[in-house]
């Protein structure tokens, strides 16, 4: 079946703008995760959804970052007032349920000018 998909593949924005990044998990997967991967680093955990609720948002760096998953499937990561330091690859992963294997999407490359 189809894997995790993310759109857009690339996003270029200006400092101070608002951006939305979308993740379509594998069908039937109830758990969804967002990670951020900076150049030369491993992915860093941002937030975990179980169904529609954010069960763990301890990795969000500040209140400019917010994520939703209103129907328990597609998720959107929202970044307000973007800063140059937000430039990174934003990865989404999903798993059948909590604690199961996480399957990653290809990521969205965000560049803030």
């Amino acid at each position: 079946g189809a894997g995790v998909s993310q759109t857009p593949s690339n996003k270029v924005t200006e400092k101070g703008k608002y951006v939305e990044l979308r993740c379509d998990p594998i069908s039937g997967h109830t758990a969804l995760y967002w990670y951020r991967q900076s150049l030369g680093q491993g992915p860093e955990f941002l937030i975990y959804f179980q169904g529609t609720g954010a069960a763990d948002d301890s990795g969000l760096p500040n209140d400019r970052f917010f994520a939703v998953r209103p129907e328990g499937s597609v998720s959107t990561l929202k970044i307000q007032r973007t800063e140059r330091g937000d430039s990174a690859v934003y990865l989404c992963a999903s798993s059948f349920s909590r604690g199961e294997t996480q399957y990653f999407g290809p990521g969205t490359r965000l560049l803030v000018l």
Binding site: Y33, Y35, G42, F45, L46, F104
Partner: protein, 113 residues
């Protein structure tokens, strides 16, 4: 000191060689250990998944976990040019612990034809 340490490389070896990759960690609550492979501009792909201490073999890949030393390894036998990628170790706590994976920086592996 980061929770997970991994030498970023690059590690360059000739085709057919045995490759040894490793990570050390400091959090004794980690119980699940994974190795992901990441090709350039792609998302991480799960290679091996191990619970607690011990060995696991899958084809040319062998994963080892030594919890007493807080040290994990991935061995690749008969390495091929197609194995050239970045290898990320990842770990997770058990039960009610944190849900996100904690990754190392990744080791950039180059297999020379």
């Amino acid at each position: 000191q980061k929770e997970v340490e991994q030498d970023p490389g690059p590690l360059s070896v000739p085709e057919g060689a045995i490759v040894s990759l490793n990570c050390t960690y400091s959090n004794s609550a980690f119980q699940y250990f994974m190795w992901y492979r990441q090709y350039s501009r792609k998302g991480p792909e799960l290679l091996m998944y191990t619970y607690s201490s011990g060995n696991k073999e899958d084809g040319r890949f062998t994963a080892q976990v030594d919890k007493s030393s807080k040290y994990i390894s991935l061995f690749i036998r008969d390495s091929q040019p197609s194995d050239s990628a970045t290898y990320l170790c990842a770990m997770r706590e058990s039960g009610g612990g944190a849900d996100g994976l904690t990754f190392g920086k990744g080791t950039h592996l180059i297999i020379q034809p």
